[in-house]
Symmetry: C2
Subunit: 228 residues, 2 copies
């Protein structure tokens, strides 16, 4: 069970799980995010890596609000990497990974697997509380108590986070080695009407630096004038 | 933050929280359940108890399936109370309470409260793994690690389950004392087109026995021929 946003990280996770021989089921969410364009990439990548099934669930997370991804808060642009490291960014979505992992467990239980993959990492962007290993461990404990699979000990849920200790550059190198087409991944929180990345939001800044450090050029289009 | 299904238990929880002086925000879900008629009662009760706000979220839980509440599995009828106590019933919905509690925490975080109320109980119907105290404790641990509120220690999430050790009869007596109109609560998993209860599903059987034991008559309509 792969949580697949259509971004750089989760697509790399799909490539890793696929290379390890897992039969992949991909789960994506339309939750009212500004960058819903990423779902097109999720569909393309699920196909590219031969996923057995791909489900895109519409969930009303945007009606709860509380995030710059729903336009409730201003989206930061042009921050320094030092600024990125401080505190929890306004792109934080309340309880998002907990919610996504719960749905993943629900579907996994029906399929009969306990292996859930998520593309969180703490190296380049440590601000999100729901990307930390201690959260993932607590989630495993909770979901194994709160489901039939866990309660009957038929399946034990394990949350795999293969990127958790990697830098963006390391993620990109690993993905390229596994055949990821990063031209079909989306990271920008503020794409224009043609889907071009802004080059200035936190997600763009980390992606651009990752490609620079990895020594590869980023195949996605950025808006005119973006310095990459 | 009250998880309000429109059923007997969660409506009683709303009455309890309201009587304790909490400002109540009610959260309900349209998740494709057979008994979606319960949402009308949720709206009525949120109004009746003066809730500050009431949100009904549409979430695609039915697309994951795996429950008799989505017609994936046959709905048991006419079971004995001994049968009700054995195993996990087919009306179990994978990870349902974990998902509901996550959304409750997300909205609670935006409002600025850590108090979440849920109407689970283990006395009359112990089959659901996500109604057990050990699950609720693990959920608190997880959500306090996986949210801004918890990570910054501004709010500590507490899951209140005031009915957890009560029988259905005790719940009904407490609710009546607090002014609950049980005519505006729905329990049946298989209502007819007029919303009348079947009298034979697990939820009806427990409700009917609860009213009998409490010594009150159930004000909701049952289909013709139901023995109550």
């Amino acid at each position: 069970m792969i949580l697949l946003s259509g971004g750089l990280d989760s697509t790399t996770v799909l490539a890793i799980a696929s290379s390890e021989g897992y039969t992949c089921y991909c789960l994506s969410f339309d939750y009212g995010q500004l960058q819903a364009i990423e779902l097109q990439n999720a569909r393309a990548n699920a196909r590219a890596f031969g996923a057995r099934d791909h489900l895109v669930l519409r969930i009303d997370l945007d009606r709860i609000g509380g995030s710059a991804l729903f336009s409730d808060l201003p989206l930061p642009k042009g921050r320094s990497f030092e600024e990125l490291k401080i505190g929890i960014p306004p792109t934080y979505v309340p309880a998002r990974n907990a919610i996504f992992l719960c749905y993943a467990a629900a579907w996994a239980e029906n399929i009969g697997t306990g292996d859930i993959f998520i593309g969180v990492n703490v190296m380049d962007y440590s601000g999100y509380p729901d990307c930390r290993p201690e959260f993932l461990h607590a989630f495993e404990e909770m979901i194994n108590l709160g489901t039939r699979a866990g309660a009957q000990k038929g399946i034990r849920f394990i949350v795999h986070a293969p990127l958790i200790m990697l830098t963006k550059a390391e993620i990109i190198k690993q993905g390229l080695a596994l055949g990821v087409d990063y031209g079909q991944t989306h990271s920008c929180y503020d794409p224009d009407y043609e889907g071009r990345a802004c080059g200035e939001c936190d997600a763009c800044l980390l992606r651009i630096r990752g490609f620079n450090e990895a020594g590869f050029s980023d195949p996605i289009p950025y808006r005119k004038g973006t310095m990459i």
